[in-house]
Each structure stands twice: as C-alpha cells, then as structure tokens.
C-alpha cells in the first residue's frame, strides 16, 4: 500500500528528528566557560579588563561614593531622600540593612574573588606581561580591601589597628567557607604586602609606554601605599612613597584653566590623575550617576546650555550641595581656582535656596562629577591624583614636626589654586597640621577623603550649616552636628544579609 510507505517515512523522520533536534549543545552568547577563561595570556588580559569593569559597577563606584563622601562636612543634603544615601549622610539613622553598604560590600568582595583567580593563575616567575597583569590584580585587591576596611573598620589610629576589620580573602580557592573579620591591623598589613608586591611585579621596560591612568601601574601602587601609610600614622613611609610618585616624572599638577576643567576632559589625557575609574561616553548613568545628586543643568527646552545650573530635576536630582561652611572657606579667596568645582544655582544673580528645611539650604551645586566629554552626568571618579601626594607628604611632615616642609607641600597646592602661600606665622591656633588638613579639605572636597582625614587624626567632624543632619535634632532648626571620632557610626554596620549567612561576622556596635 502506497500510504504505508509514507507512514514509515514519517515515523522515521519523526524519530530521527526527535533524536537530533534536541541534541545540539547550547551555549550562552554573552558568557564564556569559566574553565576556559584563564587558560592563556590573552584571556588573562581580558579577565583583568573585566576586573576593572567591576569597579565601574554602580554598586562599587556610586554606593562607595555615598559611603565615603556623604559622611563628610563638605556637603549638605538639602532635603530628605527615600534613598539610603540619606542615612549615609545623617549618621544617626544608619541601619544594618542599608542598601549602599550592602551593595559595596558585595561588589568589593566579588572583585577580590575575581582578582584572586588571576593572582593564583600567574606564578611569580612568569613573563613580564603576565607579571604586569598579576600586579594589576594585586593592586585591585589591595584597593578593595583598603576601601572596605576604612568603611567598615575603625580608624587604624584607634587602638593601633586592634579593632575588627574585614574578612581577608587572599586565596583563589572556590570556597573560603565563612571567614571571620581580621583585625584592622592585619588588613592593613595585607594591603601593604599586596601593594609592595604589585609595585614589584609591574615592571615594564624603560622604552615601553606605561598604561594610562585608568589602569594600575607601579606608580599607582606607590600612591596608594602613601595613603595607606598615612592612615597608619607611618609618616616616613607615607613620605617615601609620595616622593616615589612625585619623582617618577609621570605626573604634573594641572595649572590654570586646565585645572579648572580637571573633571570635564577625557580622563586618559589628564596629567595629574594617577588612577581613576573610567566611564566611557556610553556608560553614562544619567539620573543614577553620582553627579545627578550634585548638579542639575538648565534647559528643559533643549536649547539652553546644560553647563548652566538649573532647577532640580532638569538633568539631575540636585539635592546635595557644597556645604555652606565649605563655600565660606572657599570664598575667603575669590580668586581661588577651586571655585570652578562648585556652581551656585542663581536666578537673576540671586542664589537659590532649597526650601525643604528651615533654615533653607543654599544650592551650591558641585561639578566634580559632571560634564566629562560634554555629557552632563558623566564622570570617571578620580581615586588618586598627584595633589594628594604633596598633601600626604605635608601631613606626614607636620606630624613628624617638619613644619616648614609641611607648609611647602601645602603651598604647592595653594599656589596652583591661585591663592597666597602660608608662612609659619600664618597657621594660627590649629597649627601646621590644622593648616594641612584645611588645605586637604579645600583641595579634595567631594572626593571621599574628608571624614577619614578628621577621624584618623582624632578630630571631630562638625557640621554647622543647613542640611538634613539637623533633622536629627530637636528642634530641627538646630543645624549643629558634631560627630566624635569615637562615635560608633564613624563606621558603617556590616551588611545584615552577610551576617545572616556568615555567623562568624560580628556586627559593629
């Protein structure tokens, strides 16, 4: 029968198609097999790039910024926000379930884990190219550890690092179980060991061009070493590594209009930046950018310039401003070039006020995180720059009693800013260290340094200007907030989700 033949054919086709259509191996299109990810130098290079990319994840860059900068007196939050960033600013309202501490902790450890994979995959006697990559990953691990310990562990100078720090993960193994917190001291020791080794490994031929400031290099490791030693009050080493950076000849302080446009130029072209976290034009975070909280441009009609300050909600939230006390200090010298980093929002020459609080908060927009390559909310946050090396030296010298050397460093920065230099007779009641810290404040405002500068030197943080910190007070018109270096909230709570999974983690009081 003719039909039977067709049927046999059909059955055969049916069975064969079942067998074969479903046997094809499937693979994801946007991921590769982990087992094959680190098998050759090219792949290790790609994976190292991937580790840098973790830095620009908002969980690291943005949440990290809120954790490191919002507790300072550089800024004033003009109105309560539903975002956890409010708690970072106000201290008193912090909770163990804070979103930014949770996000940063997770991302920083993921970066450490990823770096460990590469560190473990490259022997110390590998080729120079591979050693360079290993050094870069050691740097990334050290930087993540350092930021974690300064956010979650008490200042090193309190109890010489004996307080609980963070868990140290230096092993590339797949499972580290449930690690306990190492002491602050142990973390610093590990950070220093990593950075020293990194500097050692990141040796390149004198004829070769070093990697740009968006990657780690020997000088980047030295620069962070200078900061780490400064935090430990190891002033000699702070000076030593600052000098290694300064004397490397790779960096120069930007001058004049170049300095005023520091944060709007393409990051790789910046001669002062030692290390920044590169965000390209297509990695703009828009209203979720760091700069969105600090600045809102004019131009809802699409024709006005975005570089002219405008009302809230145009290009950003514009809810966090330079503090009134910071601006008052800046205004002591109208010629101070650092006026370029704030942009008071005025209408017809009248400074606008955010009226959500009483007294009202003046709207001094901040521009250090805006306008890179002409995009209003784009920035590549700067982590290390040459000016810090001068002021690290200055602080270390001040503590070593080398007052003139300290002021020399300060004056390099003041001269560049276009304001008068200081002599020993000018320093006043706070002494040379006070002058150094004041200059650090003026120079590194909004860059996540200020709170650590105060607390490691056992100084209180005083807010005496309008801002939502007044909402902690009764009555709320009292704008004074003093945070002592011994305050429990100088450090953030360990994320509740981590404590829940890892019972060995102790909570900060």
């Amino acid at each position: 029968m003719k039909n039977l033949r067709y049927i046999k054919l059909l059955i055969t086709i049916g069975i064969v198609s079942v067998l074969f259509t479903a046997c094809k191996k499937v693979e994801p299109s946007t991921a590769i097999d982990a087992k094959a990810a680190l098998t050759n130098p090219a792949d290790i290079y790609t994976a190292t790039i991937g580790n840098y990319s973790e830095l620009r994840d908002p969980d690291y860059t943005r949440s990290g910024h809120f954790l490191m900068e919002y507790p300072t007196d550089d800024i004033a939050q003009g109105q309560p926000s539903s975002d956890d960033l409010s708690r970072c600013y106000r201290y008193a309202t912090q909770i163990p379930t804070g979103a930014h501490a949770t996000a940063f902790w997770k991302k920083a450890y993921h970066l450490i884990f990823a770096a460990n994979q590469i560190i473990g995959a490259i022997p110390d006697n590998a080729t120079a190219d591979l050693k360079l990559l290993k050094g870069e990953n050691l740097y990334l691990r050290a930087m993540a550890d350092f930021n974690l310990v300064r956010i979650f562990g008490r200042p090193y100078t309190q109890g010489s690092g004996s307080n609980p720090g963070i868990p140290l993960i230096t092993d590339g193994n797949q499972s580290n179980g449930a690690p306990a917190r190492s002491s602050v001291k142990d973390v610093y020791t590990s950070v220093i060991a990593d950075l020293l080794k990194a500097a050692d490994l990141m040796t390149i031929a004198s004829t070769a061009t070093p990697k740009s400031d968006i990657f780690a290099s020997k000088e980047v490791a030295y620069a962070l070493l200078s900061r780490v030693y400064l935090y430990m009050n190891d002033n000699a080493n702070a000076i030593k590594y600052a000098d290694l950076v300064i004397n490397s000849g790779r960096y120069t302080l930007l001058q004049g209009s170049a300095y005023q446009g520091y944060f709007s130029a393409a990051p790789e072209d910046n001669a002062e930046t030692i290390f920044c976290i590169r965000h390209t034009k297509t990695q703009d975070q828009g209203f979720s950018a760091i700069g969105s909280m600090y600045y809102s441009g004019l131009g809802p009609d699409g024709t006005s310039s975005l570089t002219t300050p405008g009302g809230q909600g145009n290009t950003g939230w514009g809810e966090v401003y330079a503090s009134q006390t910071y601006v008052q200090d800046l205004d002591k010298y109208p010629a101070d070039l650092r006026h370029s980093f704030i942009a008071p929002y005025t209408i017809n020459g009248v400074l606008q006020l955010n009226k959500k609080l009483t007294p009202n908060t003046p709207m001094y927009y901040i521009t250090k995180y805006s306008f890179q390559e002409g995009i209003v909310t784009l920035s590549s946050p700067v982590y290390l720059r040459l000016a810090e090396m001068y002021l690290n030296k200055a602080e270390a010298n001040a503590k070593l009693g080398n007052s003139q050397l300290a002021l020399d460093g300060v004056n390099v920065i003041r001269t560049r800013a276009g304001i008068p230099t200081l002599g020993l007779g000018d320093v006043g009641a706070t002494g040379v260290l006070g002058a150094v810290l004041q200059e650090r404040r003026m120079e590194f405002a909004f860059e996540g340094q200020r709170a650590y500068d105060l607390f490691r030197n056992n100084l209180p943080l005083v807010r005496n200007y309008p801002g939502t910190h007044s909402l902690n007070n009764v009555p709320t018109t009292n704008i004074m907030q003093t945070v002592l270096p011994t305050d429990p909230r100088v450090v953030f709570y360990i994320p509740q989700t981590e404590i829940s999974i890892n019972p060995k983690l102790t909570q900060n009081p």
């Binding site: 499937v26 790039i49 539903s82 690690p179 968006i214 709320t476």
Partner: protein, 1013 residues
C-alpha cells in the same frame, strides 16, 4: 461544566462517500487552499447514498425540542449514512429489517428499528452528566468517569463571563486549587497561576501550558473551547520534567459536522478605576497634617490638585468576535477573527489584540486524518510613561497641574514647585510614549494514521514564531528626555520554538478487559535573539532612530537556546469500566542541566474504582454515582532559565572597561545540577447525589526534593549564590468542587462552589541551614510556610513620647531570652511574624438563575487568611519623613500621637522622620483577605419565534459587570497582589504578597450581544 465531546470515530467509510468526494481524497492536498477546496466540496455534496431500499425520513430534535442539525443517521452494521439538514430533517434508504442509529456529539446514541415505519422522528437525550463527558488529558482524551486523576475542567463559556484577553485572569476562582493572582489592573499585564501551592524555591512555580495537545503554542481567549487543569502526578506526569507545577491544557474550538454556524459577538463597555479604602490627602488635609511638624505657608493652599484623578480616565473595552464553523463528518473547520481592545484606566495605557484562527480537520482517507491549526495574533500595547502611576500617588496637591492658559505645567520650571520629583507627568505625556507590537504565529500540522484497527500512529508538529518590537521615546522637551536632548530606545526580539511529538497508540479490548498502550517520542528546541539600540540627541517630536545624533549606550543583543527531548510510555487498563489502572514512565533530557546529570526519569501510577457499578451499591438510590481515585507519581521542574549549571565569565558590555572588552566571573559551576523532583500522592472521591449534586473531593500531598535552590553565598565566596539541588518542600491540601442543580423546573438555579486549602512547609534545606534567604522578608525557613513573613515586629507607639517601637529579643548571659521594646530600628529583632502571604483558603462561587430567556449569573471569588505587605505606605504613611510626597488619609481607627499619654497607632510626626518608623516591619503587614463580586451578568435570550423570521438561529443580549464589589480590610486601593510572581531573572525568586504602588483593577460595565446564524 464541561462541554467537550469525544469526536465520533469513523462514521463515513470511503465507500459510502459520493464519487466526487472519493476522487477528492486522492487529490494531493498540498496547500491550505486545497483543504478549503475539499471542504467546500464536502459542503456542496448532497449526502445521499444509493440503493434499492425504501426511503425513511424524519426530524431529529434534542431534549429542549430544538431541531438537531448535523446528526449522523446511519444504518447499523453498515456504512451507509446521512446527516440531518438545518431543519433537523433526514432521509435515508433503509430496509424494514434495518436499525437506524442516530449519533451526535454530546447526545446519547439512539437506535430505532425501521420496521414498517416511513417516518421516524427522534428526540435524542443529552449526555447530561458531567461524569460521562470526555476531557482532554495530556496525550489522550478520556471520559471523566474513567479518570484516576485529579482534573478540573472549565468550559469556554464559563471562562468568558469576565471580560479580559488574559486567559489566566479568566481562570481566577473557577477551579479548586488553582490560585490566580495579579498585582496590577494594567490590561497589558498578565496574571500568575499557582496550582496547589509553591513547591519550588528558585525555579518557576507557573504551570505548564499545553495547547491543542502540544507543549506551548498560542491561543486567544475567544477561541478557547475548554480548559483542563491537571493537578496530580498521574495526570501531569507525562509532561515529566516540566509538570511539577501542574499542567493547563487549552483546547481550541473545532467545527461540528453538519452545522454551518456563523456567530457574532460584540461586547463594549466602560472601565473605571477602583480605589477601595484608599484616599490621598487634598491640599487642606496635607497642610493641616504638615503644620503639626514643620513650617507650612498659606500659599500651599493656592492649588488643590488631585493627581490621582488626573492620572486616570474612563477606559473603553471592546471585544468583537466573528466565527464560522461547521463541516461534514469528514471535514470540520473553525475559523474566527477576534478584535479586543482594552484601554487601561491609566492614561496612555492600552492593549489591542487582533487574533485569527483557522482549525481544520479532515480525513484524507479512512486511515489518515490531517489536522491543520493556524493562529496569528497581532498585539499592540501602549504603556504609561513618565512615572505616571508613581506621581499619581506621590505628587503634592500643592503643585498645579495646569497653567492659567490650560497647558500642563512643567515641574522643573514652575516657580516654587514643591514635589520631590519636579515632575508633571501630564506635561511629558504630550510628547513621550512607550509601546510594543508583537506578531505571534503558530502552526500545527498533525497526522493520525490507523496502521491497524488497534494501532495508530500520530505525528504532531508545531512551529511557534514570535517577533516583537519595543519602542520608548522621551522627548527633549520633557524631564525624562531633557538631559540627553531626547532619548529613543528600540528593541527587537525574535524567538522560534520547533516541536515534534510522535505517538504510537495501541487500543484493544479482550472481553471485559480494555487496554490502551501509548509510546511517545518528543523533541523541542528553542531559539531567541534580540537587538537593542539606544539613541539620544533627537529633534523634538521625531521619534525615529535616524534622527538620533549619538548613542546613550552601545548597541547590544544576544541569543538564547534550550533543548528538551523526551520519551514516555503509558499503559492504561480497565476491567468492565469498573476498575481502572494507569501507569507511565518518562525519560527526559534537558540542555539546562549539568554535564553529569542532564537526564531524568519519572514514573506515575493511578487507580480508580466506580463503586456504583457494583451490585451492592444498586440499592442505595440517593447515591447516583460514586468513585474512588488514587494516584502517585513523580514529576520534575526545570524552569530555572538556561545555562544555570555552567561556570561562567560574563563577556557582555558590563565587562568592558575603557573601551576594551573584558570578562569577569558571574556564575559558579555545578556539573551535578539536575531536575527538581516532586512526589505527589492524591486521593479523590467523586459522587453524585439524587442526580442533582455532583461533588469532587481531593486530598493531596506534594513533596518536592532536590530543589533547584540558589544557595546564597557570603560575598567573600565571590558569587551571590550557587545553584544546587538541595532541600525539600511539602504542600498538603484539600480541594472540594460542588455543582448543585438547586432548581430544575422552568425557573432554574445552579450553584457551583469550589474551594481549596493548602498548607505549605519547608521540610529541609542545605544541611544545617535554617533559612534559604536569611536576609529576606520571606526567608524560606525550615519548619515554616515558604511564604512566612520575617521582619521586626511593630510594637506600636510609645504613649509617653510618640516614638515608634519594635520588639527586641535580648539574650542574657544564661541564654534566657526576654522581650523588650526599642525605638531603635537597628536594635529591633527580625523574627517570624506568624503570618504568611500564602492564603489559607481560596475559591469561588457561581450562581446561575434562569427563567425562560432570562438568565442571571453571579461569580464571587475569595482569598482568605493571607497577609500582604503594603510596601508603598513607606512613601505616603511615614510620619513626616517625606514631606515632598503626598500622604494617605488615615483610615478609620488609625490615630496619630500628638501629646504624651496618647494611645495611638501612628507615631508622632517629625520632620525628617521619626526613628526610621517607615522601615520594614509588621506595621505595614495587612490582612489580605477579600471577597470579590468578580462578575455579574444579566442576559436575555431572544425567543426563537421573534428571530427566526430574520434567519437568525439565536440571539442574546446581556449586561455584565466585572469587579463590582470587593469586601476587604486592606488600606490600599485593592488587596489583590501577585501571590506567585515569576522569578526575576534566572532562578531569582521574587517573594509574593507585596503591594507596591498598585495599579488599581478596573471596574467594568459592559453591554453585549451574541448572534448566531
């Protein structure tokens, strides 16, 4: 209740057909048009047979005295036959010794001896009892009475009382143990279905959808003939790895032999938002409230804008269907077109759907049957933009919506705008839009071949193609588009699913022994790809990519694939239609699992016994039917997304840095990852009383093990989680379905009640672990319901100072735990609240009253015993924290602390917030029980005498209301929440039971007419 009838088997033999048709069979039918040609031939052919016998004629009617069209009349033990015409008339040549056999789908087969009669008029009785109806169960169809499984069937008509295009939404409250829930009144949103409780932690809990006999496929509500819900393992088991959450079988309509029916139905109505117990403050109320804790100025009262009302509108729902169906005993067809357009109550939100379906079945010859099912759906959806819903809740009444000249204000530039978001969505809605279009095409080509009398082979093949495009545009003149000088986002998605299912079936009877054997081989492969573009710098009002001057982010796109392969065998045996046994075995492979364990094996067994067929039952007359059922079996769950077993480094755009491509670790490998295994035991009892009341009762236990579980890892492990097969969850429950014909005279009253209890318990997790997600508000803890709430317990307001208070459990040195109160949220102890988001009881009740042509039906559904976390209260009930958001009006019974000694429910209002009082706690955990009049329909069937002169077969007009009344204590707009939301990304469990900025459901008032020709 159910109205799917088994198709009569061969009624016409080839020899019985007219010559022109016989030749038609040999025509090579290559194209669809060819099938139509054939079909038309069948129509025009006079169904007469030759012979020397004398003519016998008559009229066939059904019990309601309506003429029965298309009834097969044939001479018993012969192949000669005819069908009745549109007037129910037939004429056949028969000898005196012949017996005429009248058969018709849904009616009892009737035999009449011819004798000397020349006119034989017949009234055929309907197969009224649900027990004898045929249901589609997976790979086979069966009479309900022969099932050993727990199955619910809902007819298309019962389904469509509510007006919606979402079949899941139509299912709500219609079947016991099938919990349908939706978090939104958005007509473009879909509902979640949960059958017999959640038995998985990280994998999906949605049932498998089977359309017209094959996994997946497309369907439209208007074309649904019936829905069968398979609940226990004996029924779902054949779907193996994907059946753990139950199976929903959708059968689309097919024409009936002999009748040519043209049906037109049209429904048009108005949708309005429902607001329940919820009210936002007006300017005066907000002013008076804010005055108690901060400086307010009289100019606040210059405006009084009701943003909530401005954001909503009256929407129109339209639903029009035109269908033609019919055919001969040889070929049947159903062709339909449906247009559905529902405007959401939120401005700029709508769902428009065009659906075409053609179902054709034809017998190519006496052994070969061909079915072609084609469905094309074109769907256009528009979505609200510019945070419209969010602003509706939170914008301040102080801020005006319109300028003096009637144009919308712009929050960014309006002097003294106070709302936090500086946003008037009405300004942006003039220019911005977000929409999608989707084209779905589904084609089935099925062939059934009778190899011998007892052995058949069937091949079922399906292609499903989806192509959609999503566009979102933010104009330069608006807040959303201002910063980037206009933004445009385009996304194109494509997916194809190819499926072949090949089945060999053996069916035979040996005396009283009846045996059916089934073997199936099935393969499915899926492919997806997409492309995304994101442009900026567009001139105003030119929303096409070519006008963009730059990009926001790099173009992106990717592919996604999976494969399944399955073999199964089933044996089904019964003795004398009294004792039934069924057993099956399934072997399945999936590309989703680890290299060590890609395959799984499943088995099922069931048995049932019809006691009323035993002689000892014959004297117990009140019990018209009694059956016991029992089943046990294993099924699996593979719904965790693709590639979850692999160790992966991501190479997508998130991995590049400084313009250089990179890779970073994102997923931990687990080569042993395999199916979730679920064991289900079910015992059921079906009985009929006085031939008036049908009752089904099922008790079940469903225990899942080797759960696909994302073991959360400390961040120090480098990953968020690792997928493992760990842990066990049990669901136990009771389901009852009662259909009662209370009154059966001229005035009829029928009641259907279904209700279900389910109790869920997590039995074990990873060794030593007590919680799956310790940080979550529903942590999935051993010994608890999977949805138990875990958070600080609100201890009210301190009468002395108005502070919020929470419970704090303090353990002293001796390990003694004491409970004290704290006003510090950081010190509040997170603990079990004793409440869950899982309802204790769910169900529905339908009452239908009819008298002559009038009918009234009411359908209530209810959910009882669940707690809903009213998340958005943190924004508008926060004791002064957000003074640039509007606040809700306190429902009756809530009081605000104002002075020492006040016993209040609401803490003292403090500018900037009172001690984190709006953080997650039981303060916002509310009673989620509700009883809803989901639908009431009043209809009138026009008398035949009126309409016959118009050549109209039947006509009905009705008025219908959806969501008319809801009884609840919930303080938000509506207590319904998504109880089983789908995972948010592969394996990413989303807790159910949270209400957040709810899009209110619509109350619909509709008018409709159904006309049949």
């Amino acid at each position: 209740m159910i109205r799917i009838y088994k198709q009569p088997l061969t009624v016409f033999s080839k020899e019985a057909l007219p010559a022109e048709l016989r030749s038609g069979i040999s025509v090579k039918v290559r194209t669809f048009a060819g099938i139509f040609g054939l079909l038309l031939t069948v129509f025009t052919a006079a169904a007469q047979t030759g012979g020397d016998k004398h003519p016998v004629s008559g009229i066939v009617k059904d019990e309601t005295n309506e003429t029965a069209v298309g009834v097969s009349v044939r001479i018993k033990h012969s192949s000669a036959g005819v069908v009745t015409d549109v007037n129910g008339r037939y004429s056949i040549n028969a000898a005196n010794s012949d017996t005429l056999q009248f058969t018709y789908i849904g009616l009892q087969t009737t035999d009449r001896a011819v004798g000397s009669q020349r006119v034989i008029n017949v009234t055929m009785k309907s197969k009224s009892s649900a027990i004898s109806e045929v249901v589609v169960v997976g790979y086979t169809s069966k009479q309900v009475s022969q099932l050993s499984s727990s199955v619910s069937v809902i007819s298309g008509d019962k389904l469509r009382d509510v007006t919606s295009n979402d079949v899941a939404s139509l299912l709500q409250g219609k079947a016991p143990g099938v919990v349908v829930s939706s978090g939104s009144g958005d007509p473009t949103s879909s509902s979640s279905i949960l059958i017999r409780g959640a038995s998985s932690i990280n994998a999906s809990t949605s049932p498998l959808i089977v359309v017209d006999g094959n996994i997946g496929g497309t369907y439209n509500a208007s074309d649904v003939e019936s829905i069968t819900v398979l609940k226990d393992a004996a029924a779902t088991g054949l779907y193996g790895s994907r059946a753990a959450n139950g199976v929903i079988i959708i059968t689309t309509k097919m024409g009936k032999a002999g009748q040519t029916r043209i049906d037109v139905s049209s429904t048009v109505g108005v949708n309005t938002k429902t607001t329940g117990n919820f009210h936002l403050m007006n300017s005066q109320q907000l002013y008076d409230y804010q005055k108690t804790f901060e400086t307010v100025v009289p100019s606040d009262l210059d405006h009084n804008t009701n943003w909530f009302d401005l954001a909503f509108r009256k929407g129109i729902t339209q639903n029009h269907t035109l269908s033609a169906s019919g055919g001969s005993e040889k070929t049947q067809y159903y062709i339909s077109g449906n247009y559905y357009n529902e405007q959401g109550t939120l401005i700029d939100n709508s769902n428009r759907n065009y659906n075409f379906r053609t179902n054709v079945t034809t017998k190519l010859n006496d052994k070969l049957k061909l079915s072609v099912l084609l469905n094309t759906i074109y769907n256009q959806q528009t979505y609200p933009t510019d945070n419209l819903l969010y602003d509706a809740y939170l914008n301040l009444p102080y801020d005006p919506a319109y300028n003096a000249d009637g144009t919308p204000t712009d929050g960014r530039t309006y002097p003294g705008w106070q709302g936090r978001d500086k946003e008037n969505p009405l300004q942006a809605l003039q220019y911005n839009f977000s929409n999608s279009r989707a084209i779905t095409t589904n084609g089935d080509l099925n062939l059934d071949y009778s190899i011998t009398k007892h052995l058949t082979f069937g091949t079922y093949n399906r292609i499903t193609l989806l192509n959609d495009k999503y566009i979102s545009y933010s104009d330069v003149r608006t807040k959303a588009g201002g910063a980037n000088s206009g933004e445009l986002y385009n996304q194109d998605d494509y997916s194809s699913t190819l499926l072949t299912s090949n089945r060999l079936k053996y069916d035979n009877s040996f005396g009283e022994h009846n045996l059916t054997l089934l073997a199936v081989g099935e393969g499915q492969s899926y492919h997806f790809d997409n492309a995304l573009l994101n442009g900026k710098g567009l001139p105003p009002g030119r929303p096409v990519m070519s006008t963009a001057s730059d990009i926001i982010s790099n173009p992106s796109g990717g592919t996604d694939d999976y494969n399944f392969r399955k073999y199964l065998g089933q044996a089904d045996y019964n003795y004398a239609g009294k004792y039934f046994v069924v057993g099956s075995y399934v072997h399945e492979y999936s590309s989703r699992f680890g290299s060590s364990n890609p395959s799984g094996n499943f088995f099922q067994a069931g048995a049932s016994w019809i006691l009323t067929k035993e002689s000892f039952m014959s004297n117990i007359t009140p019990i018209s039917f009694l059956k016991l059922r029992a089943s046990y079996g294993t099924t699996g769950n593979a719904e965790i997304g693709n590639y979850q077993a692999l160790g992966l480094y991501s190479i997508d755009q998130s991995a590049n840095y400084g313009g250089v491509p990179g890779a970073y670790p994102t997923q931990k490998e687990n080569p042993n990852l395999t199916w979730e295994k679920i064991k289900t035991a079910n015992i059921g009892l079906d009985f009929g009383l006085f031939k008036r009341i049908d009752v089904s009762v099922d008790v079940y236990q469903k225990t899942s093990s080797a759960l696909l579980f994302q073991v959360p890892l400390p961040a120090t492990e480098g990953y968020d989680y690792e997928f493992e097969n760990i842990g066990s969850v049990r669901n136990r429950g009771l389901e009852v379905n009662i259909t009662s014909r209370n009154l059966v005279g001229a005035f009829k009253w029928e009641t259907n009640l279904n209700l279900a209890l389910n109790r869920n318990k997590v039995l074990s997790l990873e060794s030593g672990e007590t919680m799956a997600s310790p940080g979550a508000s529903q942590p999935v803890a051993v010994g608890h319901d999977i949805n138990d709430w875990y958070m600080p317990i609100w201890a009210g307001v301190n009468p002395a100072n108005g502070d919020p208070q929470w419970e704090q459990l303090v353990t002293d040195a001796n390990g003694k735990v004491t409970k004290q109160l704290t006003n510090s949220y950081a010190n509040a102890t997170r603990q079990f609240t004793g409440n869950s988001s899982s309802p204790k009881l769910t169900g529905g009740i339908t009452n239908t009253f009819s008298y002559k042509g009038f009918s009234l039906s009411t359908f209530f559904n209810f959910v009882y015993g669940n707690k809903v976390y009213n998340d958005s209260r943190a924004y508008f009930d926060n004791d002064g924290l957000y003074d640039s958001y509007n606040a809700m009006v306190a429902p009756s019974g809530w009081t605000r602390w104002t002075k020492p000694g006040d016993i209040a429910t609401e803490p003292k209002a403090v500018q900037g917030g009172n001690n984190n009082s709006n953080q997650q706690s039981t303060r916002y955990l509310e009673n989620g029980s509700y009883l809803r009049l989901r639908n009431a329909t009043f209809g009138y069937q026009l008398p035949t005498s009126w309409i016959n002169s118009l050549k109209i077969r039947s006509a009905r007009i009705f008025v219908s209301g959806d969501n008319l009344v809801t009884f609840t204590k919930f303080s938000g707009v509506d207590p319904e929440v998504d109880l089983s939301p789908p995972p948010n990304g592969p394996g990413n469990r989303v807790a159910g039971g949270t209400s957040s900025f709810k899009y209110p459901i619509s109350r619909k008032l509709l008018f409709g007419i159904n006309v049949g020709f």
